[in-house]
């Protein structure tokens, strides 16, 4: 077991190291930030001063070593645009992204499970077929376009919900959150639903398949034979069993929610990490790009590591196969 964890841990370290090299070299080869960030009317002395300040005059490999050394101290450079520590900016925006992703996750369960169970109970009813057709559509709809149409309908035409920003936030444990104020909640609703759409479709399919399977199991027949009401059979016996795959898969999908929040944040001007990245890409703000990519790779490597370990605990075949190689 510990051998397995150590192997995986080493693999994760290699992935992070390789990524840091690719990201750093790649980002530094693209475009010339000097042209982008310095006032074209500035004189030569001013240009040279800024280049020196930003460390752009050193050779690339020195810049990289400098970057790695600083990265261990939690310093990934200063944003060209904001003039603040890039890592600090990313960490500041992180709670907004995580709030959005968690809300979407919650919505996927709250909306997806009831629909899925319903469709699984009556697989041939027209209503169930409509639900399934809707879930196929949910897989095919481009997220950003759905977001735009939501803004069009609910913000522009009906004027029910605000279309941009986080609204009022409250601070708990030093983290700004939106979901505790009415205004924040109304700002959160559309982006979270938009982000959740794909996962809702996924949960509907999982819950439907699980329910169809569970309905024929002995424990359901037995529960019915005991004379339990249908509601109790579904809510207690069936639901408990289908939640295992649903929760497992959603755990795996959490990473993709964070990745897709880049799109949703841009559409709804939600001030999270993703929006920061897109703005940085437009401004060629390299330290922010590097810091974001390193942060997100780290988050993913950690998520994947946890999932791998979790799986190897559940299924011994995984670690045995790995040790055999």
């Amino acid at each position: 077991m510990s051998v397995f964890i150590i192997r995986r841990l080493m693999q994760s370290v290699i992935v992070v190291a390789v990524m840091s090299l690719i990201v750093f070299v790649g980002v530094n080869v693209v475009g010339d930030p000097v042209d982008m960030l310095i006032n074209p009317e500035a004189d030569q002395a001013e240009i040279e001063r800024v280049i020196r300040d930003l460390g752009l005059d050193r050779p690339l490999h020195e810049q990289y070593l400098y970057f790695v050394g600083n990265a261990f101290e939690g310093d990934l450079g200063k944003s060209f645009v904001f003039g603040e520590s890039a890592l600090k900016l990313i960490v500041q925006r992180m709670p907004a992204t995580f709030e959005l992703a968690f809300s979407a996750l919650l919505m996927a369960i709250v909306i997806g499970v009831p629909f899925g169970v319903y469709a699984g109970m009556r697989p041939n009813a027209i209503s169930s077929r409509t639900i399934m057709a809707g879930s196929i559509l949910g897989f095919s709809l481009p997220t950003f376009w759905v977001g735009l149409m939501m803004i069009m309908v609910f913000a522009v035409m009906l004027g029910w919900l605000p279309s941009t920003g986080r609204g009022d936030t409250v601070e708990i444990f030093g983290i700004e959150v939106s979901f505790l104020t009415a205004d924040g909640l109304s700002h959160l609703l559309m982006p979270a639903l938009n982000l959740a759409l794909l996962k809702i479709s996924l949960v509907i399919r999982l819950a439907r398949a699980g329910t169809r399977e569970a309905m024929h199991q002995d424990y359901v027949k037995f529960a019915r034979a005991k004379g339990l009401s249908e509601t109790r059979v579904i809510l207690v016996h069936v639901l408990k069993n289908i939640m295992i795959p649903v929760v497992t898969v959603l755990g795996l999908e959490f990473g993709s929610l964070i990745a897709f929040s880049v799109v949703t944040e841009t559409v709804f001007a939600w001030p999270g990490m993703g929006k920061l990245l897109i703005d940085a890409l437009h401004n060629l703000d390299r330290p922010i790009i590097v810091a974001y990519l390193m942060m997100i790779v780290l988050v993913f490597v950690i998520i994947n590591l946890i999932v791998d370990i979790f799986y190897s605990v559940l299924d011994p075949r995984v670690r045995l196969k790995d040790a055999g190689q």
Binding site: S140, P142, W145, I151
Partner: protein, 307 residues
């Protein structure tokens, strides 16, 4: 022997009509009416994409013909020259229907091109992994596993931020996002095929490795590849649209559907819904029809489901 005589002998020998594999494939596919409709729609979309410059009502990128006086017209209004704008115009006065036709051309072009390149590279790598096995296989599949553990959109964003903007860069990014799916699919089916007798026979004949891999192994791994290919192409189109919408995909000189939607976003808050609504519908129809065709192909080409 004359044609007539040939026909009579064939008829005499085999009075029962024998289905060729192609005929069986077509009739299996046609079992599902929705898939047939999806296929027809897809053929229509491909037709539009190929012949866009000839069938568009106007040329939206010919500055001499686009008039700013026609800007922001609602769907169905007529221009001053009597041309009807069925889907309205954007803020520069371009006919939206024509823009969509041209946009489909770019979106499909980028999606299909990246899909074909990724298919070639990915399946070659997958075949090599399966045929040689051992360390090469372990190394390749480790890379594939690691890449697939990151969502496609994230990999694409990383690549775009590393590579920069431009049509070629977007295609490279899409290829690098997709190759792993093909490699994994081909490796899976090649591992099964590798142990079959015909490969053994080819090896006994002392045929070269290249010949065995590409002439014998590869054709037998094709069916699952076709299915993955259709679904991946839909993904690629959707991904390109997303990247272009975010402003990190295609440049404005290549107005794909994603860029049209992004343009519409700017004027949407003032109530011009159609500028981003219709390109989105076009994108949706394209993706849905490709996915439906892919779904049916999966069922038809799956030997386990064959009657």
């Amino acid at each position: 022997m004359s044609d007539a005589a040939e026909q009579t002998t064939a008829h005499a020998v085999d009075p029962v009509k024998v289905e060729t594999p192609l005929q069986r494939f077509v009739s299996d596919y046609a079992d599902n009416k929705i898939s047939v409709v999806a296929f027809i729609v897809l053929v229509g979309i491909i037709f539009i994409a190929i012949f866009a410059p000839w069938i568009s009502p106007t040329d939206p990128y010919d500055l001499a013909k686009v008039s700013i006086f026609d800007s922001k017209l609602e769907p169905g209004t007529k221009s001053m020259d009597g041309v009807t704008f069925w889907l309205g115009t954007d803020s520069a006065g371009r006919d939206l229907l024509s823009s969509i036709f041209y946009g489909l051309r770019i979106s499909l072009g980028v999606g299909v091109m990246s899909g074909v390149i990724a298919l070639c590279i990915g399946s070659a790598i997958g075949l090599i992994a399966a045929y040689y096995g051992g360390r090469i296989d372990t190394l390749i599949m480790r890379i594939v596993d690691i890449q697939l553990s990151f969502p496609a959109i994230l990999v694409a964003l990383i690549l775009i931020s590393v590579l920069g903007k431009g049509v070629d860069k977007v295609i490279i990014a899409l290829v690098l996002v997709q190759w792993a799916y093909y490699a994994r699919t081909v490796r899976g089916s090649a591992l099964v095929e590798r142990n079959k007798e015909y490969i053994e026979a080819a090896t006994c004949l002392a045929l070269g490795n290249n010949r065995i891999v590409f002439r014998h192994l590869m054709p037998n791994c094709l069916p699952p590849l076709i299915v993955v290919g259709t679904v991946q192409t839909a993904h690629a189109i959707s991904l390109e649209a997303t990247l272009s919408f975010l402003g990190v995909g295609l440049p404005i000189t290549e107005p794909s559907l994603g860029l049209l939607i992004a343009n519409g976003f700017e004027v949407m808050l003032s109530g011009l819904y159609w500028v981003s609504f219709f390109p989105g519908i076009a994108l949706l129809i394209t993706i849905v029809s490709i996915n439906l065709v892919g779904d049916q192909l999966r069922d038809v080409l799956n030997p386990r489901l064959q009657k």
